[in-house]
Amino acid sequence: MTAPAEPLLALRDVRVRIPVAGGAIVPVDGVSLDVHRGEIVALVGESGSGKSLTALAILGLLDATARLEPGSRVLFEGADLAALREPALRQVRGRRIGMVFQEPMTALNPVLTVGAQVAEAVTAHARVPKAEAWARAVAMLAQVGIADAPARARQYPHELSGGMRQRVLLAIALVNAPALLVADEPTTALDVTIQAQLLDLLRAAQRERGASVLLVTHDLGVVAETAQRVVVLYAGQVVEEAPVAALFAAPLHPYTAGLLAAMPRAGGGRRELATIPGTVPTPGAWPAGCRFAPRCPHAWARCTAEAPPLHDAGDGRRARCHLVKEPARRAQVHAPAAGAEA
């Protein structure tokens, strides 16, 4: 599926450690993933799976206490961002990698006009006259679909709707034409209709500018609409990785299957939505063996005893489940589970 070309972004064994009273937790525990040029990759997981921390770690934006462990590599355009110091990282942030944040209400400074905040992204990386930075900001705002951009640019964030603010955030991320866009739950705070418009904009950015997108989300609907490849995170680890169509057709990991079953579907009738029993274990309280085993309907003795590796399942698919290598048991599991669960 994926070409052997060098990926634009490659996370290798990324570990984030946060010291806590009496030790340390590792909420991101050895995440590896690739984003190729022009590709939209979705990073999916429940709250607490470590997906947002992974996104922040790419740009070295972890807060003061959290640390990337030695050995973590963030390979981007020939450099290891994890090894770069602050001034060099600043050259990458906003210029080569744009970041879109989750909360359009709080990610904009309330006392600066939105135009000034887009222009700030321009002047942070280029010595251009103020007027030119402003002109580029206004043009960018128009490109992300803000009507009457010259007037809107002079307004403050509180004078704009949530959807417009999210467009402003997107404009800030795109104004320097970055090679990669990291979008952390960009649609979570928005109405469904606005969500769809924003996803269109993301896809347009990919199509027209050739930008790659790492889309962090918990919303599988968003994934199905937007991404080409999906990486599923659970308890700080990648549990499954697959092209989007294959993943939706036949998930390999029981966790992914559970997530899909929990999705409301049009025409599904008035059935109760399936849920995955229990919650994501908190970092520091991860079970031995497979981290999903306590919640897994198919777990057996081996699962609690031995942590499964991320098996390669062919066709660009990987899954962290013993079932991948036990075809007999897998057939047995899938036969009755398919209808009975629903």
Partner: protein, 305 residues
């Protein structure tokens, strides 16, 4: 990274940002004046300032001039002496005007100095690492815990006579702790805000983040504390003068005037009443302005739908 000079630069840049006009609803000052409380407060302050500055032109007597002791001693208010005369036959109105000029000048100097000190301290602590921050803020806690008037008694009661400079420095040096704590908390909170994270994510240099994203908010906080500080310091100066360690007679300040007046409160109540009333008016006006200022800043920052 933030020396006091840097802080001053930050603060002044910030004020410009805060005072910049907003779209639609007018500038900050316009908002303050439009609010009912703000209008009253501003009008009162303007009236007091006008009276203090232009008063001597309309009301000529030298505040130190003694009128005829035999006839003009402790006279009740009259046409000749609208606020009456004091125990050595001086015109009380002239003395209240002169005292007000001194009291308010002292208060302004003290508040500016204390605000600069506190802002610088708070900025450094807020931007510093956890340990430096803790050490600096424990010192502020200590400063707040020690009774201020007691410290001032010790510092100002040294022999060598009256020194207005020493008074300003001493009162300012014991009055910046509250501002420092406010600024530090603001900086800490803002540092963790999403928009600062967003600014970092787009590669904005740290100094630029401090200037564009921290300073305007901090300036808002600081701006609100200043009028409140003026009211407080005028009252404190009066208290110190009353204790005999502030402004020394025969020089007039509202504090010394009240002190002189209390000695003869029963025979000549106007002596303490005139400067006392002025003090109340100024403190009240400052409070009203600070209140309106806070609301105006709030409306700008908040306005959360």
């Amino acid at each position: 990274m933030t020396a006091p000079a840097e802080a001053v630069r930050l603060a002044s840049g910030a004020q410009r940002a805060v005072l910049a006009p907003t779209t639609g609803s007018g500038g900050l000052l316009a908002r303050v004046v439009r609010a009912p409380g703000g209008a009253v407060g501003t009008a009162l302050l303007a009236f007091v300032a006008l009276a203090l500055l232009a008063g001597p032109l309309a009301w000529a007597p030298d505040p130190d001039r003694q009128f005829e002791l035999a006839t003009e001693l402790l006279r009740a208010p009259s046409a000749a002496h609208p606020f009456g005369t004091d125990g050595v036959a001086r015109d009380v109105l002239a003395r209240v005007l002169a005292g007000g000029r001194l009291s308010l000048a002292l208060a302004a100097a003290i508040v500016v100095l204390a605000t600069l000190l506190g802002t610088a301290w708070g900025l450094v602590a807020g931007l510093a690492g956890a340990r430096t921050d803790a050490a600096m803020m424990r010192l502020v806690d200590a400063g707040l815990a020690v009774p201020r008037v007691l410290v001032l008694l010790v510092v100002l009661a040294v022999p060598g006579g009256e020194s207005l400079a020493r008074l300003v420095v001493a009162v300012a040096a014991t009055g910046w702790f509250g501002v420092a704590r406010l600024v530090r908390d603001d900086v800490r909170r803002l540092r963790a805000s999403d928009w600062v994270l967003a600014a970092r994510a787009l590669g904005t240099p740290r100094r630029e983040i401090a200037r564009r994203h921290l300073a305007p908010h901090v300036a808002g906080t600081v701006l609100v504390t200043m009028p409140l500080g003026v009211g407080h310091v005028v009252a404190l100066e009066a208290a110190l003068s009353w204790l005999g360690i502030g402004v020394q007679p025969p020089r007039a300040s509202w504090g010394t005037l009240i002190r002189e007046g209390t000695d003869v409160l029963v025979q000549a109540p106007w002596l303490a009443l005139a400067p006392g009333a002025c003090l109340v008016v100024v403190v009240l006006a400052c409070t009203l302005v600070a209140d309106a200022l806070r609301d105006a800043l709030d409306a700008r920052e908040g306005a959360r739908p």
